[in-house]
């Protein structure tokens, strides 16, 4: 392994992995450059005063000429945006490709006092900025996405800039630790507390440099005496102290440790010297060119003008396997596999040795794990082959570990490729879970770098559900595509639709919104056409003032609430005439609006009908209105309007009926005036009934003739009314007045109803033969009924009469009926 060299120290094990050779070179190296690198193998930004040129490791992207003010600090956000903190407190935000996104200020006072120093830091709450003003005050923002500026309390007696300071994230808040000469202070939002690191060497008179670990758990100080103090960030415990014998303050200092690591150490860097200081008072020194340190969760990246390297503690698994003359199960298995590939018998010996100790499972695990830590695909393969070989001799080894490792490594190797340039390590990969699913996060990283094909392939490879993976990648691609100003709307729309097709979960409306944001309304409309969810199209169309289109889309969606929303919008936007015209072309919207008006704005409803010359509905409208009217005259005039409309609608029947109604109302009014009877509003039928029961026969007669009431109904009416009045005499007279159009059975029945059997019997004889049985039964004359039934030789009627007979009291009748039945049956 040439690109990597290991130092087998008894106590301190570190390794340096060459990640990339830089694909570019800076004439003057990194001198006078601001350098910022994002964690998790993120992008690096180099900036010389006045020239900004953010870069990925391989292919630099040169930004435009820097024209803004003096930059004090660079930094990356968790979302891969570049922050430039300027001297006047303005923070400029650029995306990965150097396009300006936005800016914000860290406080107006800084325009006067200026920023002395600034730091960009990351915490679970997002990306924050802390800065020191010219008046030696600290200003802090924990999350720049939700900017809340905090001015930290004054440090008593602070006359000049502190010798060094750092931001800590403790107890859910961000704090500043600063050193001013011999004193150390902890600043939080409320107070300034002096602190003392335990066990700091008495030789030190001041702290000249400090470093916080990636996880905010550890602190390191560099003292003027050349000592490196290491301890916990809460300043309660001391881990160790190392004397470096260097008196010059270092250029940079960073923690180098891994989660669950054995040997936390601190990397201290001077102009020409790099030193690794461990807990156990040992140091390693590396020859060195001018570089920058980037702390990571599992090591330190070292970036120089020409190289990009990773320094980290050697992972236990790798140490076990690669340590010279190691007898660890993993090492033995690796050896076994080597022999096996050489087709040598020794393979069996090694294997047996592991098996005898019953450590084969352990060996496989070790090889798999070690493969994960290796950066060279060849080494990875070698280890995985060994694991695979070992696995064959195990019966119940769960395959997930191996399978997942192969899968993860494939993804990692792809993104580590120098053309992509994301030197992500395996421990970093799952660690990103804190934000989102690691696979999604990797996709996001790639998408931000516009590496769509790779992202697309990775999603496919990982079998991410379409709507979470591929769709997102395609959406980002499309959003990027719509910003290509040189291409015509047509071309872009077509290109997008061809590529996206009907991929599940694609939101064309989001892409359209992006296009609209870039000022390409026409393109946005074209893109919206592809959106299957009509509902999603509507808000954007309204925003773009394409209200007509919005209306048809709302209708298409079938969601009536959405239609109402657009209609309400149109109503406020348009003048009434245009609004009505629009509705006229959209029958669905029109009917909905009518419903709305019917309950909310009846007058508008009338206008709508008027506009459409819908006379039938206008007629109905007036009729309905007439019933809400108390005054007779108004009511009549409304009904008259209804008549006119019905006539226009050529609805002769309705016109006539309404005319009749007016006549009836007038008649009723007259009756009320003359006779003092309240009949207004009653139906014609009820009015007649009322007149008849009152004995106003003349008026009734008149009404009957005027309104051409059918004879039958009039007879029924009069019959019921007279019976109700118990005016039997008049009833008899009526019955004899002429031949009844309803026959005489009703007379019988109505009399019975009013409990006058005597009167009822008078009419039985007049009843037609078909109804005789019924009539007899109605008056309770079983004998008559029986006789009639037998006479008519009706089987049904005989049974009917029988059903009414009681076996004990009507013995004779029953017998007679049964005989008749039997006789009929014989025939």
């Amino acid at each position: 392994d040439d690109s990597e060299w290991r130092l087998w120290f008894p106590v301190l094990l570190d390794r340096k992995v060459e990640l990339y050779e830089m694909g570019w070179s800076l004439k003057d190296g990194l001198r006078d450059c601001h350098v910022a690198a994002a964690p998790y193998g993120g992008p690096i930004d180099f900036r010389k005063p006045c020239i900004r040129c953010p870069l990925t490791t391989f292919s630099p992207i040169w930004g435009p000429q820097w024209k803004s003010g003096v930059v004090k600090q660079l930094g990356w956000t968790v979302g891969d945006d570049l922050l430039c903190v300027q001297e006047d407190g303005t923070v400029l935000v650029y995306d990965l490709f150097g396009s300006f996104k936005r800016h914000f200020s860290m406080g107006n006072e800084l325009v006067q006092s200026h920023v002395l120093e600034a730091k960009v830091f990351h915490s679970p709450y997002g990306t924050g900025i802390a800065l020191l003003s010219g008046t030696f005050r600290f200003i802090l923002a924990t999350n720049i996405e939700d900017l809340k500026l905090r001015r930290l309390p004054e440090v008593p007696g602070l006359q000049g800039a502190p010798s060094c300071w750092a931001v800590l994230s403790q107890d859910r808040q961000s704090k500043v630790l600063l050193a001013a000469g011999p004193d150390l202070y902890m600043l939080d939002t409320t107070a300034c507390t002096p602190v003392i690191p335990p066990g700091l060497t008495p030789q030190a008179s001041s702290i000249v440099h400090m470093a916080v670990s990636f996880s905010y758990k550890y602190l390191a100080f560099f003292t003027d005496s050349g000592h490196v103090w290491m301890g916990s960030a809460n300043l309660k415990d001391k881990l160790g102290e190392v004397e470096t014998k260097m008196k010059t303050p270092p250029k940079q200092m960073a923690w180098c440790r891994r989660p669950k690591g054995q040997q936390p150490s601190v990397v201290v860097m001077w102009e020409k010297n790099l030193l690794v200081a461990g807990q156990c008072q040992e140091t390693i020194q590396y020859p060195f060119v001018d570089s920058v340190l980037v702390p990571e969760m599992d090591g330190v990246r070292i970036i120089s003008g020409s190289h990009h390297e990773l320094l980290q503690e050697v992972p236990a698994a790798c140490e076990e396997i690669f340590k010279i003359a190691s007898m660890a199960p993993g090492a033995l298995l690796l050896e076994a596999n080597r022999e096996y590939e050489k087709e040598s018998q020794k393979a069996d010996e090694y294997l047996r040795e592991i098996k005898e100790q019953d450590l084969l499972g352990e060996a496989v695990k070790q090889c798999v794990e070690a493969a994960g830590y290796e950066h060279e695909p060849e080494t990875q393969k070698m280890l995985l082959r060994a694991a695979s070989f070992g696995k064959c001799f195990l019966s119940n080894f769960r395959p997930e570990l191996f399978v997942h490792m192969c899968r993860d490594l494939r993804v990692l190797n792809a993104v580590r490729d120098y053309t992509v340039g994301i030197p992500l390590t395996l421990p970093q990969y799952p660690f990103m879970r804190r934000y989102v699913d690691p696979q999604k996060r990797v996709c996001k990283l790639l998408v931000h770098r516009k590496l769509y094909p790779l992202a697309f392939e990775i999603c496919r490879y990982l079998k991410t559900p379409e709507y979470q993976g591929v769709s997102r990648v395609l959406k980002h691609w499309a959003c990027c595509k719509v910003q290509q100003k040189e291409e015509a709307d047509e071309v872009i729309a077509r290109a997008i639709s061809v590529k996206l097709g009907e991929t599940a979960g694609i939101s064309y409306s989001d892409i359209a919104a992006k296009a609209y944001e870039c000022g390409r309304t026409e393109l946005a409309i074209k893109l919206l056409e592809f959106e299957p969810r009509s509902g999603e199209q509507v808000p954007l169309l309204l925003k773009m003032k394409r209200s007509q289109l919005a209306l048809s889309k709302a209708i298409e969606s079938g969601d009536t609430d959405l239609v109402y929303t657009v209609v309400t919008y149109l109503k406020n936007e348009m003048n009434r005439g245009d609004f009505f015209m629009t509705l006229r072309n959209q029958p669905v919207a029109l009917s909905l609006y009518r419903q709305f008006c019917k309950h909310q704005e009846p007058e508008t409803l009338k206008d709508l009908f008027n506009q459409d010359d819908d006379h039938q509905e206008l007629g109905n409208f007036y009729v309905r209105a007439s019933y809400q009217e108390g005054k007779l005259e108004t009511r009549v005039s409304l009904l008259q309007s209804a008549v006119d409309e019905y006539n226009k609608a050529k609805n002769e029947f309705a016109a006539k009926a309404t005319e009749e109604e007016i006549r009836l109302l007038r008649f009723q009014r007259r009756v009320e005036e003359e006779k003092g009877e309240r009949v207004l509003g009653c139906s014609l039928h009820d009015t007649l009934h009322c007149l008849l029961t009152l004995g106003l026969h003349k008026q009734a007669e008149q009404l009957y003739k005027d309104f051409r009431v059918p004879d039958k109904r009039y007879w029924w009416l009069k019959l019921t009314a007279l019976a109700e009045k118990e005016d039997w005499e008049e009833l008899e007279k009526f019955a004899k007045s002429k031949k009844s159009p309803i026959g005489y059975l009703p007379f019988v029945e109505v009399c019975v109803k009013h409990l006058n059997k005597y009167e009822a019997k008078k009419y039985v004889s007049k009843v037609t033969p078909e109804q005789k049985v019924k009539a007899h039964l109605a008056v309770g004359d079983l004998e008559g009924a029986a006789e009639a039934a037998i006479e008519r030789r009706s089987e049904g009627e005989v049974s009917l009469v029988l059903s009414r007979c009681s076996a004990t009291t009507d013995r004779t009748i029953v017998d007679r009926l049964n005989r008749a039945r039997a006789a009929a049956a014989k025939k």
Partner: protein
């Protein structure tokens, strides 16, 4: 409490549980004690999802009915409005919120829209200046409510009116959404058939939504093989006819609401000790009717004429079971007997209840039993007890003509119309009923039926009926008549040809010898008439609609077939002899008799298809016509 939902072909309890889960989640969102303010219309449908106990478990301490003015005092932290998205309700809510006593400790307001939130309503709340007062504005998606083991209803009363009269397709949107929810739980339905404009619209929306939700499909093995969407206006005739099944008659006479019926209490008087002082209860007897009750499940779909026999058979079985106690000798046997007692007692109560209901119905329907002539005074008293209440419900025939007589005459006319006798002339019976001012709805049902069976009425006949109705019942009904004409229930005969006889013959809508006791055809549910809608369903399953293309063209609206792609690996492998499952969705309502007919088809041994029924609302002719009437406020004088 809803075990009966899981006994059917499709376990509908899954849907209910999903709905209950959503409800609990919403309630827990409003931490602390709460009071619910109900849109009264919703209480019935909610009763099918959750009882008060569920609400109580989630700290619901008070319930109020939504009405204007100030909210009643209640020491609760949260006030939750459960409402349909209607503007008029928003105004009431705004009034409630504004008039809230500022002096008292503030209460948190929440609003839960059922079945869907509405921008329009939120806008209205905003205009009234109260939208900001709500901590949660949420929606409770309750489209299809499990009503019984094989029955889903949206309990949306106005659906038919909105779709066919007002051209407001809101309920169809809810239907499509509901069907999507159903497919999320029970898998994609591979085949969709439909007949009618609304059916087409719903199918289109479903296919569109499927595209919209593409990718988020749940991987569920499809439970339903086929969905059949039917417009109510394809079959306007069936609901107009009087249903003759047991359940159908209960609904026709007393009305079943959200699964409950209220009955006149007299027949249910407790006959225990102290026979002498029998207090007649005055409160109507409220009974829940569903398949959880074994006996009811057995008899509800029978033709009423077969119910008596079934009841007496059951009575014998139950009394035999009680007699068993004499045979129980050993301690073990007695123990066994005792353990069965609760079940037997429940069966006995159930039997008693249904015997009473059957008697009530029999008084109205049976031609044979006419009260014997007695002394007039006594006669009236008797009538007063058993019949008068009933009479008011079915018709206002003067009580001297027995109710059964009126029922029978009405039925005769209906059957004449359905068989095509004299449908082109003014009918004397209708004329007489109008003359006696029988209930308007009864008249409208008959006139509409005649119109439907004659493919419209001649101008002269139509105008005559309309005039008679206006003169008798009042001119304001001109609007109702206009509504009936708009929906096609009443129409002018435009073509000279009446195609109803063709439809009747081709689809065998009239079966001369319907067997009421042991039916062999669906026509038993109307004692002769086979509901058109169910015939279409039956013919779709076998031999397929291609055989009746001609008739389908005569019925309104398009007929269509759509297929939905199933995700790979979810194709069902049918076992030999395994029945297909079809979901029949009636857009605009379904009657109990139609349901009975479909259940009959499900149970046919060689049927090959089992049906689950869904609808916007359970209807009968009366409720249906009522929903189409134009309710005018009484004239103010």
């Amino acid at each position: 409490m809803a075990a009966h939902l899981s006994y059917g072909r499709v376990n509908l309890n899954i849907l209910r549980e999903a709905a209950r889960k959503d409800l609990r989640e919403f309630l827990d969102k409003c931490a602390g004690s709460k009071a619910i303010v109900w849109d009264e219309y919703l209480t019935g449908p909610f009763g099918l999802i959750a009882q008060y106990s569920l609400l109580k478990e989630h700290e619901v301490e008070k319930m109020f009915t939504l009405k204007g003015g100030r909210l009643p005092a209640a020491e609760v932290k949260n006030i939750i409005f459960f409402v349909r998205p209607r503007l008029e309700l928003m105004d009431i809510i705004a009034e409630n919120v504004i008039s809230e006593d500022k002096m008292r400790s503030p209460r948190d307001f929440h609003i839960l829209f059922v079945p869907r939130r509405s921008l329009l309503c939120e806008q209205r709340l905003k205009e009234r200046g109260v939208l900001g007062s709500f901590i949660n504005v949420d929606e409770y998606i309750l489209d299809l409510i499990p009503y019984d083991g094989d029955l889903l209803s949206m309990e949306s009363e106005g659906a038919f009116r909105e779709c066919y009269l007002e051209n407001d397709q809101t309920s169809l949107y809810h239907t499509a959404k509901g069907l999507m929810t159903l497919q999320a739980l029970y898998g994609t339905i591979p085949q969709i058939f439909g007949k009618g404009e609304c059916a087409r619209h719903v199918a289109n929306m479903m296919l569109r939504m499927k595209r919209e939700f593409a990718g988020c499909q749940t991987q569920v093995l499809p439970v339903f093989d086929t969905l059949l969407l039917l417009d109510r206006n394809v079959d306007l005739l069936t609901p107009l006819a009087t249903q003759l099944t047991y359940e159908g008659l209960i609904d026709e006479i007393y009305g079943i609401n959200n699964g409950y019926v209220k009955l006149p209490p007299e027949k249910f008087a407790q006959k225990k000790q102290g026979e002498g002082e029998k207090d007649l209860p005055t409160e109507p007897k409220k009974l829940q009717l569903n398949s959880a009750e074994e006996l009811y499940a057995e008899i509800r779909d029978k033709n009423f004429n077969a119910v008596g026999a079934a009841l007496s058979k059951k009575a014998k079985i139950i009394s035999a079971a009680f007699e068993e106690r004499h045979n129980a000798k050993t301690v073990g046997e007695i123990k066994q007997f005792v353990s069965q007692l609760p079940h037997m007692q429940a069966a006995r109560t159930s039997l008693a209840n249904h015997t009473s209901i059957a008697e009530l119905i029999k008084d109205i329907t049976s031609r044979q039993k006419i009260p014997p002539p007695l002394h007039p005074g006594l006669y009236l008293t008797l009538l007063h007890f058993s019949i008068i209440v009933v009479l008011c419900c079915i018709s206002c025939v003067p009580p001297y003509v027995s109710a059964s007589e009126a029922f029978f005459d009405n039925l005769t006319v209906e059957q004449e119309f359905m068989t095509g006798v004299d449908t082109d002339k003014v009918n004397t019976y209708i004329e007489d009923c109008i003359a006696q001012k029988d209930p308007l709805i009864k008249i409208l049902r008959l006139v509409c039926m005649q119109s439907v069976c004659n493919n419209g009425l001649k101008q002269k006949v139509l105008d005559y009926y309309k005039r008679e109705i206006l003169q008798t019942y009042g001119y304001e009904h001109i609007l109702t008549l206009n509504n009936l004409e708009k929906t096609g229930l009443l129409k002018l005969q435009t073509s000279t040809r009446n195609n109803y006889p063709t439809i009747r013959k081709t689809l065998k809508l009239w079966m001369e010898d319907a067997n009421e006791q042991n039916p062999n055809d669906i026509s038993y549910v109307y004692s002769g008439y086979a509901p058109l809608s169910v015939r279409l369903t039956q013919l779709l399953a076998r031999p397929g609609w291609r055989s009746i293309e001609e008739v389908l063209k005569m019925l309104p609206g398009p007929h269509f077939e759509e297929r939905q792609q199933l995700p790979a690996g979810l194709h069902k492998k049918r076992q030999q002899g395994e029945n297909r499952t079809t979901l029949v969705f009636f857009l605009g309502g379904v009657t109990y008799a139609e349901i009975a007919a479909l259940r009959f088809l499900s149970q046919m041994e060689d049927g090959g298809t089992e049906y689950v029924i869904a609808t916007t609302k359970l209807i009968n002719g009366t409720t249906w016509i009522k929903s189409l009437m134009d309710r005018l406020e009484e004239p103010p004088f």
